[in-house]
Amino acid sequence: MEVSKVSTRYGEHVVHSGVDLDVRRAEIFAVIGGSGSGKSTLLRELILLQRPDSGSIRVLGADLQGLGDDEALALRQRWGVMFQHGGLFGSLTVHENVGLPLREHTGLEDPLIDEIATWKLALAGLEPEAGVRYPSELSGGMLKRASLARALALDPELLFLDEPTAGLDPESAAGVDELVRRLRDDFGLTIVMITHDLDLLWQVADRVAVLAEGTVQGVGSMAELARMDVPAVRKFFDGPRGRAPSKPR
C-alpha cells in the first residue's frame, strides 16, 4: 500500500497537505496522531469512503483514483474494516452480521456459511452463544470482537482497524493485542490500524507513523520513533502518559 502526496481540505480547513506512507505486505502498521490530525480521514480515504483532493493512493496494487465500480467491489472484497464503534447492523444477530459478506459475495450454502461464521467468531474470541444475540445486547469488548469477526469473514489480505482497543478493559485489550499478532503470523495479513494504545503500539506494531500538521512527521518502529527529535513525535513520548523506550512492559 502506497500513499503519496495526499491532500485533503474541508472548506478552508486543511487536513492533509502531502501525506506520504508506505505499508509493506504482512506488516502491522499503526498511525498515531492527536485529535483532529486527520487519522480517521486518512483511513476513510484508504477504504474508498472518501476521495482525497489531490495525490494518489495505491492499495493492493490498484490505484484508488479512477477505479471502476467492478474493480472497487473486487478490491473491497480483499480488505476488511473494523470500525471504531463496530458498525454492526442492529437488525441482524451477531452471527448473521458475520455471515452477511459471505452470503452477499459467495455462492456458498447457508449451513456452510453458518459454520464459517461460527468459526470466525471463535477466532475473534467469541463463544457461539454470543452469536445469537443482537449487537445492542453485547458489551463494548464483544462488539469489537464481533466487528473484527465480520471484517475477517471474506479472509481479507488487508485489515484496517480503527481504534481496536479504545474503550476496552486492559484484559480485553491484551486479548486484542494477541489476536492482531496471531492474525498476521498465522494468515500473513497486512494490518493497518489507528490507535492511541501505547501497549498495542509497543507490543504489536512493526512500524508506526506519526501524523501531525497535515503531514507524516516520522515513521519507524516505536524504538526508532522514541529516539527521533521531531517535536510532534516527542509529544507522544515526553507527555506524562508517555512510556520510556527503555522499559517496555
Partner: protein, 374 residues
C-alpha cells in the same frame, strides 16, 4: 494469476484413489466445488491421496472445507494423505484444524399459533398499560409545572408551534382546499338532479367544518409531527441522550414531552380554522363552476345553514386529537430500545396508532354529539 478474477477451485479424480486439487480455495472461489466435495463418495479402496500442489490460494474458508472433508473421510476409516501442499497453506490448514468448529447454532423452534396469539395479546395489554402510565407520568410532570411555573419550557414549545403549526400551513391548506373541491364536485350531480343546487353550501359547510377539516388536519399532523416526535425521542434514547438528561437532573418529560403536547394543543385548533376556510373556499369555487351558484348566494346560504355550533364542534375536537398525536408520538419514542431498526419500527407504530386513535375518538365524538342532539 490475475488478482481480480482468481481461477475458481476445481478438483479432478484421475484415479479412484487420487484427487488433484487446483485453483483458488478461497471464500470467493470455492462455491463451485463446496457442494460436490460434501457429497464426495469414499473410494472403494481404503486409501485416498489428495494432491495439493496446484492449489493457488487457500484461505480459512477453503481450509475449513478441506478440513471437513479430511475429517469426514478419516471418520469413514479411509487413510487420507495430503501431499505437496505449499508450507504456508499447510500452516493455515493446521490453524483451522486446531479449533474445533462444533455444530453451528441450533435453530430456534417456531412457536405454535396459540402461543403466538397469547404472546401478542400480552404484548398489546402491556403496551396499553404502559401508555396509560405514560399519560399519568406526563400529568404528574404537568402538575409539577403548575406548582413551579418557572420550570415550564417556553422556548421548545414556541419552536414546536412553528414546526408543527406554521410550517404545516401550505400542506394543510392545499389538502383541505382539494377536499372542499371534491366534496362539492361529488355532491353537485346529486343536487342538480333535484334542482337543489343551493344546498351545496349546506353540504360543504357542514361536512368540512364538523368532520373533514379537523380530521384531515389531525391526519396530516400525525404523519408530519407525530412521527417526527417518535423519531427524535427514539434516536435520543438510542444515543443515550435521554439517560444523560436524567442524570443531569432534567426531566425528559418536562423538556421534551410537555412542550410538544402544548404546542399541538395550540397549533391544531388554529390549523383547523385555516383548513375550514380553505375547504369552504374550494367548495365555493366548485359550486360556481359546476352548479352556477355565485359566491354571494353561497355565502348567504352558508350563514343560514351552518350554525356556529357546527364550527365549534369541529374546533373542540382538535385539542383532543392534538393530545392523542403528541402523547402517542412521544410514548412510542420512549419505547425505542436497541438501534436504528427500533427507531423505524416505533416511528411507524406512532403514526399507525395515532391515526387509529384519532379516528376512534372522532367516532366517539359523533356518538356523543348525536346523543346530546348537537
Amino acid at each position: 494469476m490475475n488478482p481480480l478474477s482468481p481461477a475458481p477451485a476445481t478438483f479432478a479424480r484421475p484415479t479412484p484413489q487420487e484427487l488433484a486439487l487446483s485453483g483458488s480455495w478461497t471464500a470467493l472461489g470455492i462455491s463451485g466445488v463446496a457442494a460436490q466435495l460434501g457429497a464426495l463418495a469414499a473410494p472403494t479402496g481404503a486409501q485416498l491421496v489428495l494432491d495439493g500442489a496446484r492449489i493457488e490460494a487457500l484461505d480459512t474458508t477453503g481450509a475449513l472445507i478441506l478440513h471437513k472433508l479430511l475429517t469426514r473421510l478419516r471418520g469413514e476409516g479411509i487413510a487420507v494423505q495430503l501431499r505437496a501442499l505449499r508450507p504456508e497453506f499447510a500452516r493455515v490448514l493446521e490453524v483451522v484444524g486446531q479449533r474445533p468448529t462444533g455444530p453451528s447454532q441450533a435453530a430456534v423452534a417456531p412457536e405454535s399459533g396459540l402461543a403466538h396469539l397469547g404472546r401478542s395479546a400480552a404484548a398489546g395489554l402491556e403496551q396499553a398499560a404502559a401508555l396509560l402510565s405514560f399519560v399519568g407520568a406526563s400529568a404528574l410532570a404537568l402538575a409539577g409545572c403548575f406548582a413551579h411555573p418557572a420550570r415550564f419550557r417556553w422556548r421548545p414549545m414556541l419552536f414546536n408551534i412553528r414546526a408543527a403549526g406554521f410550517d404545516a400551513l401550505p400542506i394543510v391548506g392545499l389538502l383541505s382546499f382539494l377536499l372542499g373541491i371534491v366534496v362539492a364536485y361529488q355532491g353537485a350531480d346529486q343536487l342538480r338532479q333535484y334542482g337543489a343546487n343551493i344546498f351545496v353550501a349546506d353540504l360543504v359547510g357542514l361536512s368540512m367544518l364538523r368532520e373533514f377539516a379537523p380530521l384531515i388536519v389531525a391526519l396530516i399532523v400525525a404523519g408530519r409531527s407525530g412521527s417526527a416526535y417518535a423519531a427524535q425521542i427514539g434516536t435520543m434514547c438510542v444515543t443515550e441522550e435521554i439517560d444523560a438528561m436524567r442524570t443531569l437532573g432534567i426531566s425528559p418529560l418536562e423538556l421534551l414531552v410537555l412542550p410538544k403536547i402544548f404546542a399541538l394543543l395550540v397549533a391544531l385548533p388554529l390549523l383547523t380554522v385555516f383548513a375550514d376556510a380553505l375547504g369552504v373556499f374550494g367548495g365555493m369555487l366548485m359550486a360556481r363552476a359546476q352548479l352556477g351558484v355565485g359566491f354571494d348566494e353561497f355565502l348567504v346560504r352558508f350563514v343560514k345553514a351552518v350554525s356556529p355550533t357546527a364550527y365549534l364542534i369541529g374546533i373542540c375536537k382538535a385539542p383532543v386529537f392534538a393530545f392523542i398525536i403528541a402523547v402517542v408520538g412521544c410514548f412510542q419514542g420512549f419505547r425505542t430500545s436497541g438501534g436504528a431498526d427500533s427507531v423505524g419500527r416505533q416511528t411507524t407504530l406512532s403514526v399507525v396508532q395515532a391515526t387509529f386513535l384519532v379516528i376512534v375518538a372522532d367516532a366517539l365524538f359523533s356518538i356523543a354529539f348525536s346523543a346530546l342532539g348537537l
